[in-house]
Assembly symmetry: C2
Homo-oligomer: 102 residues x 2
């Protein structure tokens, strides 16, 4: 299991339009083989900054499966014009996780 | 619900020691009122880089509850010497989340 993480800096004033476009774009990523869920989080300290987290079965499901698909062209057209600067996308593997004791 | 996120850059060569110290430090954060789980992720592209994600009931549970506690002094002593540069910690609220269709 791989976690894709990207800090997204959206052009100030375009946050609502970005969030609406992101809702629409979500179906594109969710239709990918190996997709295991995603979330969009908005920063309290910097309200034009978002954190995108996507769970993938493997790195290649993202880098080849999704990015190599026609749906990625739609994703790009919907979202990439909101970003300034263009985000760095990184991938992570879990070291440890803990949940609260019941 | 608040997500605390911090990109942690660990001094190269100290990754294993950091991970062991982090396991030990986890009990300190988990004992905090309002703690709702955390995970440590390691970057594939930059193996000295980690992503810490902590779920909190509220911002203050982290900034006042945990950081104001004696356990935070232990956390700092266990972990802060591994970081170069010192990390920026940010807080996020959920915009949207989606899981795969069954």
């Amino acid at each position: 299991m791989i976690l894709e993480a990207a800090v997204l800096n959206v052009i100030a004033g375009q946050e609502a339009a970005f969030e609406a476009a992101f809702q629409q774009a979500s179906a594109l990523i969710a239709a990918t083989d190996g997709y295991n869920g995603h979330q969009l989080q908005r920063c309290l300290e910097k309200p034009s900054q978002y954190l995108l987290l996507v769970h993938w079965r493997s790195l290649e499901d993202h880098t080849q499966g999704f990015r190599g698909s026609a749906r990625y062209l739609e994703w790009r057209a919907l979202l990439h014009h909101f970003y300034q600067p263009f985000p760095t996308v990184e991938h992570y593997t879990l070291v440890m996780a803990q949940t609260p004791k019941p």
